[in-house]
């Protein structure tokens, strides 16, 4: 049975999150990791020339967690990582709101940088999230970008 702790490194939530709290958890009782890299993705006010008012994030519950867990596993296979946390919000989000957080610790900075970017690049093309953009010209689903495919393929 799935419990809340099946994927302690992953959280899909409508609520906002606190960068400070998340980093504190990554660092707590962790004196062996000298490097902490975080990525935060936020809602921008412009996209492809249109004025954005909000985004609506949909996802595929169950598959989302499974795909993110797989991505995190791959990162751990490739780099010497300490702790990892991935948070992705769903529902309606407004300008400046936090959308996604990836936090990684490692003994060494190179591993932390690479693993964090790897996780984001794969999240972008494999995790089942979809964005609907609400603009002053109406709403529409965003198209996937081929540049995201290329970024993931380069690893």
């Amino acid at each position: 049975m799935m419990t809340e702790n099946t994927y302690p490194e992953i959280s899909i939530q409508t609520a906002d999150f606190s960068l400070a709290d998340e980093v504190a958890l990554l660092e707590q009782d962790n004196a062996i990791d000298g490097a902490v890299v975080t990525f935060t993705g936020r809602v921008r006010n412009k996209n492809e020339g249109k004025d954005v008012t909000s985004l609506t994030l949909e996802h595929y519950p169950g598959m989302t967690e499974k795909s993110l867990a797989k991505i995190i596993c791959q990162a751990k296979e490739r780099w010497r990582l300490g702790r990892v946390k991935v948070i992705h919000r769903v529902g309606e989000l407004f300008i400046g709101d936090q959308i996604v957080f990836v936090g990684v610790t490692s003994k060494h900075r190179q591993d932390a940088f690479a693993a964090n970017e790897f996780i984001m690049d794969y999240l972008k093309v494999q995790a089942p999230f979809w964005k609907k953009e609400n603009t002053n010209q109406g709403e529409h689903w965003l198209d996937a970008k081929s540049s995201d495919e290329h970024k993931a393929a380069k690893w």
């Binding site: 996802h59 595929y60 598959m63 499974k66 089942p128 999230f129 979809w130 609907k132 689903w141 996937a144």
Partner: protein
């Protein structure tokens, strides 16, 4: 029975988020797609989109993926999170 779920633009185009159908005569994702496309012209058009992605039991798969009764199959557009 096979459970089929749809997401995002696809769900809106089909005006359907979930359906169940018999696994009879369906061996792969390609078979299932063909059967769904057969429903009507609107569905045919939607499933003609080669960019659609499919998942079986929460894992991304290709059209050749075998499926069986009890599976949860999902169809959706390329993902755009992050």
């Amino acid at each position: 029975m096979i459970k089929v779920v749809f997401f995002a633009a696809l769900r809106e185009q089909l005006d359907c988020s979930e359906l169940s159908l018999s696994s009879e005569g369906i061996a792969t994702i390609a078979d299932l797609k063909a059967q769904l496309a057969n429903k009507n012209e609107q569905w045919q058009q939607v499933f003609a989109n080669g960019a659609l992605l499919s998942a079986v039991n929460h894992d991304m798969v290709t059209s050749e993926q075998p499926i069986k009764s009890g599976d949860e199959v999902a169809f959706f557009p390329p993902v755009t999170g992050g």
